[in-house]
């Protein structure tokens, strides 16, 4: 096909990266996003982006980046694509630099790098503490340039509902809904790239943005796509608990020297600034002398849980510990961390330059996602995936500052691969064969059932129940009994979902209606996460079961692959072996050099 039409769903780093590659190659792209793409969740990434540029004379190499990433992910990641990503990372940083990202500089005018978790090298390039925002803007600007040249058409305030599959289950387009007019429409394409980000909303409160519901991934899973490693959920060690969400306190705070501690004395009532060093327990530094405060996130999160729930040393008996920057001079803090310090100041009311911050772990990221092959293709022909919505690059635990590089690299892979696939298609998408109309009707029927449902359940309350139980039982510490209870509870919620009552039956910008559609998909995906966790009787990376505290390579050095069984209305599971052809798995420990 001479001039293929590609649809990209999602306008964060991964989606925009794919769009740029396609437009640059002369293709035409329709870009769909729930929010104006410049407001995508990538803006929330703070600390930086990893690339072994070795500008600090430490002898860092891309091979070392690969080893840190694979080791940090507890050997669950397929190694060849991770290697490609680490090899590509330095050139990605250069490109972003050329696009005008205001990275922090050294006196000589070169890019500055800082340390992040799970590595001993200064490998993280950063733009203050708003790196994700700066990267997203750079890509957004390039896409705007292509938009003004007519190569890209944006459909903002449109939500992806499903893919349109032909009789051979090949993707021929998408079905989407306008979030203002509520119009449901199909759009033909030769290949589809989904880059729809995270799933934080399944856990109620998380560090994610409101749009991160996982609804699109779930819809594709329900249409036959494999979902891989769903049980691997990253709980970030340092977030700021809030009423509406858990705000991230970037790992860069520790990268720049921030120290985590609690008073040694239980219920020590003193102002933290007056507690002398001898009365403070710097537990990460004590337990992990080599990496100290920069152990990987799963390790730091479990340590904080232990301090709070086993040692009962949380501040004032509350589930909170100190993250302390007060020993670092103001100018350095402002130059390197201002963005995140402002967040703390604005939402908590204390100045972290003067007062140690109070933080606690919060749901942050999904390592799992749509299963893809090494070329970003999902198991549905014609559907590609990139970014957090797929599972490829982080194994059982993601290292800080690897997400931005995986989003951009994944998008850069998916774009050209989608074009290649589309060019190889035998004939143009058959628009008049009934598949489009059938899919539109199916979605309209879902809508009208929801709109006319006259039960008694409020969707937002159902959602809070889901979030509560998922956070309690399917985050840091997992027991099979609780996982079983959680799955039962989700089934109950799915049942009650049928008895929903929308307090808003309007046909214009109806946010409760839109949310209810997302909620159904969240519930279906929550079962994949929960059951996946139940099946994995071992501890690996972010997945921790006290009843099975060791990694079990003999049984579980495997990718979990879930697929949807429509008749049973529930997930089924398969296992796939992991490609460890580059680095032989070895025990993962951070109390000593690896």
């Amino acid at each position: 096909m001479a001039n293929p039409k590609i649809i990209v769903v999602g306008g964060g780093l991964a989606g925009l990266s794919a769009v740029i590659k396609i437009a640059e190659a002369g293709g035409n792209v329709d870009l769909f996003s729930i929010v104006p793409v410049k407001r995508s969740h990538s803006v929330c990434a703070q600390g930086g982006i990893n690339a072994a540029k070795n500008l600090k004379g430490e002898g860092d190499t891309t091979a070392q980046h690969l080893d840190d990433t694979v080791y940090g992910g507890d050997f669950l990641g397929n190694q060849p694509p991770i290697k490609e990503m680490c090899d590509a990372a330095p050139a990605i940083i250069d490109l972003l630099d050329r696009m005008g990202v205001p990275f922090n500089r050294t006196p000589e005018g070169l890019l500055d790098f800082r340390r992040f978790g799970g590595t001993l090298y200064h490998r993280t390039a950063f733009a203050g503490a708003t790196t994700g925002q700066q990267l997203l803007y750079a890509l957004d600007e390039q896409v705007r340039r292509y938009e003004s040249e007519g190569r890209v058409t944006k459909y903002e305030h449109w939500e992806f509902l499903s893919s349109v599959l032909d009789g051979n289950r090949v993707c021929r387009g998408i079905c989407a809904m306008n979030l203002r007019t509520m119009e449901v429409r199909t759009f033909p394409c030769d290949a589809l790239i989904v880059a729809t980000g995270g799933i934080g909303a399944i856990f109620g409160k998380s560090t994610n943005s409101v749009v991160c519901t996982g609804s699109a991934q779930s819809a594709l899973y329900q249409q036959g796509a494999y979902y891989a490693n769903g049980e691997f959920i990253q709980v970030h060690p340092t977030s700021i608990p809030g009423e509406d969400k858990l705000r991230l306190m970037s790992e860069s705070a520790r990268g720049e020297g921030g120290r985590v501690w609690v008073p040694k004395q239980k219920n020590d009532k003193r102002d933290p600034r007056t507690i002398p060093d001898s009365d403070r327990f710097y537990f990460l530094e004590e337990w992990y002398p080599k990496y100290g405060n920069l152990v990987p996130r799963d390790v730091a999160t479990r340590a904080i849980h232990k301090i709070v729930y086993e040692n009962d040393l949380g501040i004032d008996g509350q589930p909170m510990v100190y993250l302390d920057l007060t020993h670092i001079d103001r100018h350095t803090l402002d130059r390197k961390l201002e963005g995140i310090l402002e967040i703390y100041e604005k939402f908590v009311g204390d100045d972290p330059r003067e007062h140690p911050m109070k933080i606690f772990p919060g749901m942050h990221y999904t390592m799992g996602g749509l299963w893809v092959d090494f070329k970003q293709a999902t198991s549905i022909p014609g559907v590609f995936a990139a970014g957090e919505c797929e599972y490829q690059y982080h194994g059982a635990n993601r290292l800080g500052a690897n997400s931005l590089v995986s989003c951009i690299f994944g998008g850069f892979m998916a774009g050209p691969e989608a074009v290649r696939y589309a060019k190889g298609l035998q004939k143009a998408a058959p628009e008049n064969n009934g598949y489009f109309e059938a899919e539109r009707k199916r979605q309209e029927e879902i809508n009208s059932r929801l709109m006319t449902s006259s039960g008694s359940e409020n969707p937002f309350r159902l959602w809070r129940e889901l979030g509560d139980i998922m956070t309690r039982n399917v985050t840091v510490i997992r027991y099979n009994k609780n996982l079983e209870d959680t799955d039962k509870k989700i089934v109950e919620l799915l049942d009650r979902f049928r008895n929903i009552n929308l307090s808003d039956k309007g046909a214009w910008a109806n946010t409760s209606f839109i949310f209810s559609r997302q909620l159904y998909n969240m519930l279906q995906l929550a079962r994949v996460i929960t059951q996946g966790a139940a099946r994995r009787d071992e501890s690996r990376g972010a997945h921790y079961k006290p009843d099975f505290p060791e990694r079990d390579d003999a049984k579980f050095l495997k990718t979990t692959k879930a697929y949807f069984a429509p008749d049973a209305d529930e997930p089924r599971f398969e296992w796939e072996s992991v490609d460890t052809s580059i680095i032989k798995p070895r025990p993962r420990r951070y109390d000593m050099a690896k």
């Binding site: 803006v43 050329r98 696009m99 946010t511």
Partner: protein, 249 residues
Amino acid sequence: MPEKTVKLKIKRQASPNVEPHWDEFEIPWKSGMNVISAMMDIATNPVTKDGQQTTPIAYDSNCLEEICGSCAMLINGKARMACSALVDRFEQPITVEPLSKFPLVRDLSVDRSVLFENLKAVKAWVPVDGTYDLGSGPRMTPQQQEQNYPLSNCISCTICMEVCPQFNEETNFVGAATISQVALFNDHPTGAVLKEERLHALMGDGGIHECGYAQNCVESCPKEIPLTRSISRVAGQVMVQSIKDIFSS
């Protein structure tokens, strides 16, 4: 009703074609509550203070960390981001209204796409040759980075446009956010290649000459971007450009 409550008075409008009205709510207070989390609580039980069943409030929001720029609205009459509006810091009842200078979508949600169109018009980007590997970017001193980084923090919330007396249909003024992006890209070693085009875009209808130096923009910017400094810088560049234009025509 629990002891401590929060009272909100919210302007409602189901669609652009109907008349607006006000709904009052009284909901249980929670520690650390902000205007968005209050509206999330209302959605779980959408009943007004007088016990009338109503609909959840429609509003734009996403990150809730004041970095995505979505939730700008008028709170107690002042344009600001709702996610960082902690209810304890406001006199009650807290009045919440949509921004007034943009087409209304529903309730507190408005259409601010005009800003993105403006950014297109001034070519607010660095025109790279391609995404293939061309080596590192231009070197830059830390001082240059520190000057440009704040301008690059603009979250496109449009508050600077809402509060600007000159931003209206009569003037067609582009507003401070767009001009500040021109300052940013004109100053970039590669971005400067489009400097003339950007300045010409700001010389026409609704251009920089419409600025009345009211300074409302810089006082309201949630990111404390030095907008008036950007405007002065670009105004100077426009002046030089127009003189150049005279001599080259």
